[in-house]
């Protein structure tokens, strides 16, 4: 231990360090989540051809439909970015506006995805049918599950903002939420490319 007394951290410094740690930790978490998706993508690629008398990918995918989903998610990613900017400005009104729009877009995306799933199931092409369909439902469904988690998180954050305003820790939470949302967007881009585009062609 050195002789000179250590400098005492101020309240702001402590807050800054906490934000720094949390952000970094969240990035690490996102990378682990990405690895989970990597496993699902790998599984999907391996099982893509295992259709076992069921339909193959180019028989069931509807590209314009998937493109609509993609566009909705991309726009929601943009609005969640605007929401984070508003959070840094400490503007309660705009945080609620932009995250509100993001929430509705996310809900629309989820609705479209569920309607696609139920259409497939109604046609007899559920996950029971073949290994290919199992891997399709699991990959896209896991993404949908993440979207659902994000929506619940967003709702709770918005309730908190509406009642308590944009506190410092809320800025941190909204930043993480926005990161999560962008991350889901990136994963979806890969799903769109590998599952829908490559599958429909």
């Amino acid at each position: 231990m050195t002789v000179k007394a250590a400098t005492i951290p101020t309240k702001e410094q402590i807050e800054e360090v906490a934000t720094d740690k949390t952000l970094f930790g969240f990035w690490v978490y996102l990378m682990t989540d990405l690895l989970m998706f990597a496993v699902l993508f790998a599984t999907y690629s391996v099982l893509h051809g295992s259709i076992y008398n069921g339909p193959s990918s180019n028989e069931i995918f509807n590209l314009p439909f998937a493109l609509t989903e993609t566009m909705i998610l991309l726009v929601s990613s943009f609005t969640s970015g605007l929401g984070t900017l508003a959070a840094h400005e400490k503007s309660r009104k705009f945080v609620l506006l932009w995250f509100g729009i993001t929430f509705l877009l996310g809900l629309a995306f989820l609705g479209l995805e569920l309607s696609e799933f139920s259409k497939l199931v109604a046609e007899g092409n559920s996950w029971h049918r073949s290994a290919f369909l199992s891997s399709f439902f699991t990959l896209v469904g896991t993404h949908g599950l993440h979207i659902t988690t994000g929506l619940v998180w967003m709702l709770i954050c918005m309730i908190s903002v509406a009642t308590k305003g944009v506190t410092k820790s809320m800025v941190r939470k909204l930043t993480l939420l926005s990161l999560f949302w962008h991350f889901l967007d990136i994963v979806w881009i890969f799903i769109f490319t590998i599952v829908y585009l490559m599958g429909a062609l």
Binding site: A6, V39, T43, Y52, W127, V152
Partner: protein, 667 residues
């Protein structure tokens, strides 16, 4: 679905434990629980236990809890080993079976359940538990931090691990059968078609829950080591144990997502009727093998790399020298970490991937020997011309050099695909991984336990008994495993509950059983050592003010045991072996000015969340929909409550710090 099924699922009276070996386990659990309850009530310790330990966010306390749980699981896993080996001695075809078994005293099915549980418990709940315990105890002190990056997540990680421990032992309470699939539950054997009962589901939820805890712990330690080091401690000034812990945790965060998803896919197959690994509808069984070993092989390095760090610390401390070739040791640890991702296929050369693929993975496997051998050479060079003190931690190091090198050589042999075709799934393999994991990882854990014990208790472990324990371990170890190498060459495959007497294997099995009895004695001596040390703690007290071994790294700069905030003033680091340098330059133990500390509060949320997830796991095992929904909802709600709690820290005033410091330093 009727109401009874909605609430209770598959749980029935007929499933409750009724066979002699499960009833034995049930009895042991009940006696343990009642004994503990009586003890706590009699000494009025419930409140103390809850406030001081169970809800603690202090990594030192969490570390002790990890080690305690891992130790109990070690005894259970060891008992499994005794049962496996006595069955193998009695399972020769010329001997009559008894207790209703055709051969020996266990039916084939019981035997399979036991070796499955043995493997899972020893890897997930013993070695991982010990490891997380030691890392929790030592790493924050070594990097000069007051706590981990996320103290609450650390508590949650421990409780998830504990929930996993309970889940894997749950069939003693709720019955059914444990999985009889081998420790990795390989598909398609683990599919509903072949395992319709709840056994594999116990396995699934136990590993999924504890794996989540491990992943959370991994993220926490990576962030802690990268973000919370004391000023001046650059990466290349970190102690070796911190380096190897970092490497190990990097592996954890890379591979545990793979395990989680692999188990999730198996779960999908078993619960929702998908076809990932099934025999019909296009399922691909070898994909399970690939995925599980993509996790499984790096996992063994997760277990052993921190032990390499422990050896480095011990060798350097007890030869009174700086470690030889520090940068090359770091490079070696990093090299092993990276290479471990490129070798998984050597677990199934016999899959039929073709000569090219097998050659690639064979060569990559042999490459791993280079950094590993380099480390051993570095340690030997550190000893060279050092003033070696022959205390028990360094005995374990010497033990490792013999056992681990032996096992490693066998590994290189098996890395050659044509040889592997001969010994694949034989006892040769079993002997190989036991010599490396026990002789490498576990010996390191024992060494580290002895080495750091005085730091956290204020007194040393009894030295003579420690040496007795070591020698008993070493002798027992070779007597148990050398026969297995020979048996492997003679053609004995693993997981045999009986064999033809004409093979002539029985004497060797008997020798191995004698060996494991010696090992049981060794564990007994270790328990005795702990008890004697606690009884004689006044005699064994560390009178050096926290530095009994004349240590090199920062953890020896605090008092023993350290205050709950670790450092009143964060030390500044000016080089490797920071504490040794401070002592040499006379800058250690200088008076300092204290200031207010901001510390994490204790919280019961970790227990609550893990408790709900435990409920979820048990309910899912039995397909009890209602309780799984309650568990899931409870866990999510608690997590959100915790996330929106902004008052998780408190201020410890400077005057209070000074009081604590004066009391500790005077002692």
């Amino acid at each position: 679905m009727n109401w009874k099924e909605f609430i209770l699922g598959k749980l029935t009276w007929n499933d409750l434990p009724h066979e002699w070996f499960t009833l034995g386990g049930t009895g042991a659990f009940v006696v343990l629980a009642i004994g503990l309850a009586i003890f706590l009530t009699y000494f009025k310790r419930w409140k103390w236990l809850w406030n001081e330990w169970l809800t603690s966010t202090d990594p030192k306390k969490i570390g002790v809890m990890y080690i305690a749980v891992a130790f109990f699981m070690f005894l259970r896993g060891g008992l499994d080993a005794l049962m496996i080996w006595s069955q193998q001695v009695l399972g020769a075809s010329n001997m009559p079976g008894f207790l209703g078994a055709q051969h020996g005293y266990l039916s084939a099915d019981h035997f399979q359940q036991i070796f499955t549980a043995h493997g899972d418990i020893m890897v997930f709940f013993v070695t991982m538990g010990f490891l997380f315990g030691l890392i929790n105890l030592v790493v924050p002190l070594q990097i000069g931090a007051r706590d981990l990056a996320f103290p609450f997540l650390n508590s949650l990680g421990f409780w998830l691990y504990f929930a996993g421990v309970l889940l894997i032992n749950m069939f003693f309470v709720l019955g059914g059968q444990f999985g009889a699939t081998g420790w990795l539950a390989v598909a398609p054997l683990s599919e509903l078609q072949f395992h319709p009962g709840v056994g594999v589901d116990y396995w699934i939820w136990s590993l999924q829950v504890s794996g989540l805890g491990t992943l959370i712990g991994g993220i926490n330690f990576v962030v802690t080591i990268l973000k919370m080091r004391a000023p001046g401690m650059t990466l290349m000034r970190m102690p070796m144990f911190t380096w190897t812990s970092l490497m190990s945790m990097m592996l954890v965060i890379t591979i545990f997502p793979i395990l989680a998803m692999t188990i999730a896919l198996l779960t999908m197959d078993r619960y929702f009727g998908t076809h990932f690994f099934t025999l019909n509808n296009g399922g691909n069984q070898m994909m399970y093998w690939n995925l599980i070993w993509m996790w499984g092989h790096p996992e063994v390095y997760v277990l052993i790399i921190p032990s390499f760090g422990i050896y480095s610390e011990i060798v350097s401390t007890f030869s009174k020298k700086k470690i030889f070739g520090y940068p090359s040791l770091v490079a070696a640890a990093a090299g092993i970490t990276l290479l471990s991702f490129a070798v998984w296929l050597h677990h199934f050369f016999t899959m039929g991937a073709g000569a090219d693929v097998n050659s690639f993975f064979g060569i990559m496997t042999m490459f791993i020997a280079i950094p590993t051998g380099l480390q051993i050479i570095n340690w030997l060079f550190t000893l060279f011309r050092g003033r070696i003190q022959f205390v028990s931690p360094i005995y374990w190091f010497f033990g490792m050099v013999s056992t681990f090198t032996f096992g490693g050589m066998a590994g290189i042999l098996m890395a050659v695909p044509p040889i592997d075709f001969q010994v694949h799934n034989s006892l040769f393999l079993v002997a190989h991984f036991h010599t490396t994991i026990v002789g490498g990882a576990l010996f390191g854990i024992f060494a580290g336990f002895t080495y750091w014990f005085p730091k956290f208790t204020g007194f040393r472990l009894h030295e003579t008994l420690g040496k007795y324990a070591f020698w008993t371990w070493l002798v027992g170890f070779f007597i148990s495993f050398v026969p297995l190498y020979i048996l492997g060459f003679m053609g004995a495959t693993r997981r045999l509950d009986h064999y033809a007497a004409s093979t002539g294997w029985q004497p060797l099995f008997l020798t191995a059983l004698v060996g494991i009895c010696i090992l049981a004695l060794a564990v007994g001596i270790q328990i005795l050592q702990l008890i004697v040390s606690i009884v004689k703690r006044k005699e064994l007290r560390d009178t050096t003010g926290g530095d009994p071994w004349d240590g090199h790294t920062l953890e020896w700069a605090t008092t023993s045991p350290p205050p709950f905030y670790n450092y009143a003033v964060i030390p500044e680091v000016h080089g490797r072996d920071a504490w040794w340098e401070m002592k040499k330059q006379g800058t250690a133990h200088k008076p300092v000015k204290y200031h207010d500390l901001e510390l994490p509060k204790n919280t019961p949320m970790g227990i609550y969340i893990a408790g709900f997830i435990f409920l979820f796991g048990v309910a899912m095992t039995f397909h009890a929909t209602l309780f799984s929904l309650i568990g899931l909802f409870g866990a999510v709600t608690c997590a959100f409550i915790r996330a929106f709690d902004d008052h998780s820290e408190y201020i410890l005033p400077a005057a209070e710090v000074e009081k604590i410091e004066n009391r500790l330093r005077k002692k």
